[in-house]
Symmetry: D2
Subunit: 464 residues, 4 copies
């Protein structure tokens, strides 16, 4: 059923769009248009699904360009609005409303109709997923598609508004279907098997998800929490060392809640903030279950650090001189262990994860990597905010960059990502509102003394 | 806690709004504003709830007027948009998007924040209920309030989008809380007691509701259906004559589904079409339960007919001449029974419901009222659509005005409303799409022969 | 379908029993008999249901007499058992087991088969209900029927063993069907309407039931509890004075749990103790919900007191002398108020509930009725246990007769039953085991000082 | 906490039993004994659990011997019963009832009390499991323990009476906990992983369990069904060849229901027939879901056939002559393929499963193994019933031995058990009542022509 020939595809697209996209009714008769038959939406859905990836992009470009805003009409109304400014409030407001109405792209109504048929909402989620992937893959750069993406995002953010989501606790008694999804979607620490997932929903653990009541088996975002006596500084403790499911929780031992994984499941909801709300709802839930629980913190990965570090080492090699991100004495020590040329060797060892097999090398590297990583987290920026996305997420939520942990995730994945380090972002509840506002407005990162010390060591000993 | 003095109230309002309504962030940093603390929303909610009705209107006027659109900024951007027309697509699209952004009233963000706190969604539903009542009661006529109403409606219509609602069947095993609400909200045929509601969810009956998963106990709109052998022509049959709950349904006797009551529960969702979707979903549900079921019809009240009729009689009395809505021979017959002056007497008998005590009078009036009522339904218009709102609802859905029924609701309520008549709007499934489109576009009402005959009798024998 | 003629009925019964009651298989092949077809059981059920009440009794007499134990076989085995005493353990045990087997009435297997068909368990519950009623109505006095009753009771007590029952909390969100049953079965304080039952499951109230998982909508026994600051001394406080459902519970105000009603729903489970276990389970449940809750008490009716009192007054009248249950001075006071002859007048006023209309009379009667009632509860016995069944129930459970309350139930029902008095049986948790054992073994009633004082006043001032 | 020294253990046992086992109350005051405190039962449970296996047996011997029936009292009552035969019915019945009462072992009341504490029912299930294992392992041969086993079985069979069990369908949406148990308990075809179990509850499959409402997560017995177009003749088809979960069932393709696995989960319920009832309930359930489904059959393993066959071969070798279970010509053919001595070689190949690697050998063996296996199923007996337990189960249920299938389970397990063969026991619904009765009474096996032909080939060509 694939459409092989461009010209045929193009005419099929036009045919489908002609039939399925209704014109924008005149402002005066809005809300009086006949209900669009469901078959229209189904045709659109089925047609889209029959397309190959590249055709989908072409199709969406067509939709966004030809079924968007009527620019000429808008320009005329804009002129009228300018004139209306001198008139009475009612006239002015109406001019604004009229303009607002015509600024609505025609495809918005199409998406609205699709959202109402069975499976339509999920289709739109997936459609936006495609748009996001196409933009990320640079398969398109059309400003119209960007507009369509923004429109879809805005629609989805209303439909999946936090106020209408349900917090669900997931346990070993939850439906298998749900637990399987939780396992498959887990993005931070992959689930190895069913014993593993059973532990993650067992005693001293909590798993919460936001679901929409109309899609009961579909978690939108979920959060894993470990209940501990102290804020955990490594992931091994969380995954290992458990004895038995029969273990019953001792409420007195629950003094800290450690968020060790948060995953969104729907690419199509990118940019629709749910994780932030989920953390806050879970904090409230835990406080009501454990009135004396008062420490809240993440235990977060640092994706990108190793890549950043290797980039630095590489770049400086290309500069033809020994990297200044380590002091000379440090280079010498390393050279003693690994032979020369030390930078070359070190880069190799880091990029193959082999450095962790030498305890001596690890001892030498510990202070170096800790200060570099704290800088990476604290000092590296993207549009003035933290470059690292996980950091940026928690800082926006109002958390404090609290503790960098050595040997915190010694899985191959953890070593590849961040030389085995992880970081706690701590949620000091009374401060998170102020912290969040400060970070968003001033971009200043709230950090603990440990972090600030490491940063200042970096500034003293490393040169970028 | 009520605010007694206008000036104090006004300053308190300003104080609250200053604190709780955040300025619209600049277009460039949208989505980068610090999350608004929940306490803001709670303060707004509590303040609003502490106000008296008249204060609420004043408060909303202030919100809508002072925290709406920045008209000057919009006018400037409108000019820029006009200029951008000559530029490249990206520039033009951005100008449009920027204008669209600034056309957003500031209170929209406020409502968004409120929607996310616990109970916030219900608060906004109720708030819009207040707005609608204030406008209906002419407590305000501010165009700004009308704008706020439109904004709220648009937000609510996204949040309560059909695609995210759940169809729930309500039975005697449903939670009491839910059945109590179904009883209280019932708008068409009031529920007398618990035996009554038990019958309405018992054998040969179906009751379905749309609920939002996040508000499980709260039906948004619900529909009562009777499963019968023939399309029922009176409500007495539906409510009476049942024997026992123990009765088990015989699938072979289910040949018609009669929608005898549909009620919306939330004033705040006025204008957000849910009933139409509910009927269609229920039809699908019933078809899957009873594959051989193939007759679908409403049994609907005709609110307003008696009032319209008395109005006619009254108006013609004021004209000082015998009403021409009846033929002279008809007037004579009536006069023989009720004495003279017949119009006066008749009006009295109709307005007190006493005419039903005379079988003879009823016999005389039957053809007269039937033709008048069919005209009322078919011929009386409001903005070219059917004046009667129930008729308009079913016709928009694509139903056919199928059968006018005499002695169909002989309760005092039924006689007062429509001289005891009810009407079946029939849903011929293959035609409803076309019917709906035709009615909405051409305003032509699809009607059965019975109705058209009655209408032509009216046209022959009655003069308005 | 009723069987009108005795002879026909008798032969129909025989026919049915011949077909449906299988012979007891020989001991050697027990467990190897072909499964009895379900149609047998259905035939028995339907036949029984088609009988009139008197026929049912005749039928059950026939079943119990002709399909019971084979007396001759049993006698022979009994002899063999006596002989086996001199033999080895295995032989002796087998002789016992064989005798035990043949002591099983044939109808036991019939009931077993019936219990396995759909609705069979409920049929047997109802069947035993019929037996109990027939015995109570003296419609039969057959020792065989008494035997059948004992067999059924023993079977039902295994099937409805507490270890397999589920404790369910009933709230306003429970299925309407269940709440309707709770209302209908309520034996102590009849439920007036749905507002009333809503209050009884609302805030500061708890309602728990034992259900069997296989009959989900059928509560077997249920208990109503009021959560109060102090142990309540009247029922008006419990039913009245509530303001609103919206009321939320303040955990700090929950210091006492008052069991104000416990009802069994199945006559067929008479003598199968469930209430005792329900109270204990509920106590545990409440302790876990309210860790600081530490006062548990019933607020119980005293059915039979007024009847007992009127009996006394009547009997003493027939003795032709002024009753000695009141002191002469008391009689004089009463006579001043009601005229003479005082005993006659008083009896009349008490039997019509009219005495409560005079505050003066009530003041005079208060100490008298309190001491008489405390004696009725404490001193009147049936087979050495408390005559009053409610008292006997709570005392067997290990409760203490704690407080007699004046004006505790001023409803007509309460006045008719016990001159408006009620009694608290208090559950002092650490003592209930010992109390129960003491009461059952020694018949001594554990009572508070208030009760003992009242009893000693009775002994001083009243003569029976 | 283990008890190491015999004498100490013995005295501890006596101490515990003295405290926890109450004497049998006199007949006259039965039902009037104080409720046994729960702590008694908990002490018994905890003590028992602290014992080592051998101590448990000793303990149970003590319980069964010293806390059983009072033999002397019983003998005296037996004499009285004999005498009562000449008296009136009431006296005789009472003598019987009194004897029945004293024939109750004292430990029955103990078990009754234990059944009522939390977890007590499960404890008793497990306790009987221990008894059964001890008897099977010949760790005891005490007739008293056999008596205790019978008493426990009888109690458990009442508590887990089919009339009180709930049929539950298990799907991929069932709780993970439940699906894990279904996987672990699967006795017939072990579950390999979660994909496997997902398939077994997916489209064209059904899984049903009996549960007791009070132990919601605990399936007592469960049945796996494949819905197919024809009665399946091998297990590979059932487990393999599936494409996708997304597959939706086409009702028209469901013409046969194949029960391919039934497993009991509780050793303690051995001898309490549930499987039979489960199959019948599931048949009813499937008939109501698929009205046109009319073929019901098992696809059953034949455990024991290979062992039986090797036994035969071995035994005949010891007889020093070529086995007569094969014809000479057959032996010659085999010898040609495997070398001599053929019997020796064949036994080796069969016992190592290696024979399946030679297609030629399989071809030769097919008719031989088919006729031997059909005899094994049809002709080999234990106490006149089918020796093979699976066969006996289905024949007792009324099924017909319908078809022996070659290459039906080619897993190592299937080849080891029955040379890869499986058998269909077919349930012809109208006949199962008569079949069951015939089999149980006459021991005659209802078999199809295919089976009977194979049996007659065996009789012609094989000599045992």
């Amino acid at each position: 059923t694939h459409l092989r020939h461009g010209s045929f595809a193009a005419s099929a697209m036009e045919e489908v769009l002609r039939r399925t996209v209704v014109p924008l009714p005149a402002y005066e008769i809005q809300g009086k248009s006949p209900p669009v038959p469901e078959s229209n939406s189904m045709e659109f859905i089925n047609f889209y699904r029959s397309l190959e990836t590249s055709q989908k992009v072409a199709f969406l470009e067509k939709v966004s360009q030809e079924f968007g805003v009527d620019h000429q009409a808008v320009a005329e109304l804009a002129l009228k609005l300018v004139e209306s400014q001198k008139r009475d409030a009612a006239t002015m407001l109406q001019a604004e409303d009229r303009l607002r109405y015509y600024l609505t792209p025609r495809y918005l109504a199409l998406f609205g109709h699709i959202s109402r048929v069975e499976g339509g909402m999920k289709f739109l989620l997936d459609l936006r997923g495609d748009v996001i992937e196409a933009l990320a893959a640079k398969a398109t750069d059309s400003p119209h598609i960007r507009g369509l993406n923004a429109t879809l995002k805005s629609m989805l953010s209303e439909w999946f508004s936090v106020g209408l989501l349900k917090l669900e606790r997931i346990t070993w008694k939850s439906p298998c279907e749900l637990l399987q999804k939780i396992s498959q979607y887990e993005a931070v620490h992959p689930v190895r098997n069913w014993t593993d997932i059973k532990h993650r929903v067992g005693p001293y653990r909590r798993c919460y998800a936001f679901t929409n009541g109309a899609m009961p088996g579909e978690p939108l975002v979920f959060l894993h929490v470990a209940l501990t006596e102290e804020i955990t500084d490594n992931i091994q403790t969380i995954f290992g060392g458990r004895t038995s499911q029969e273990l019953t929780e001792d409420e007195k031992k629950v003094k800290a809640a450690v968020f060790y994984s948060i995953s969104s499941t729907q690419v199509g909801l990118q940019g629709v903030e749910l994780g932030n709300y989920l953390i806050k709802r879970v904090v409230r839930e835990l406080q009501s279950e454990f009135p004396s629980l008062d420490q809240f913190s993440s235990l977060s990965p640092i994706p990108g650090f190793t890549v950043w570090l290797l980039g630095l080492l590489n770049q400086q090699r290309n500069d033809g001189r020994r990297s200044k991100i380590l002091m000379d004495t440090e280079w010498q020590e390393i050279e003693r262990l690994v032979g020369s040329p030390a930078p070359e060797r070190l880069r190799k060892l880091l990029s193959t994860n082999e450095w962790v097999h030498s305890e001596q090398l690890m001892d030498i590297l510990k202070p170096i990597l800790m200060r570099l990583c704290s800088w990476y987290l604290y000092g590296e920026k993207h549009r003035s905010y933290a470059l690292n996305q996980v950091a940026n997420f928690h800082l926006q939520n109002g958390a404090t960059m609290w503790r960098l942990n050595w040997k915190a995730d010694m899985s191959p994945r953890g070593i590849s990502a961040s030389c085995g380090m992880m970081v706690n972002y701590r949620y000091f509840l009374p401060d998170i509102g102020a912290n969040s506002a400060k970070y968003l407005r001033t971009k200043v990162i709230e950090a603990s003394e440990q972090i600030l010390n490491l940063v200042s060591q970096f500034q003293k000993n490393s040169k970028l």
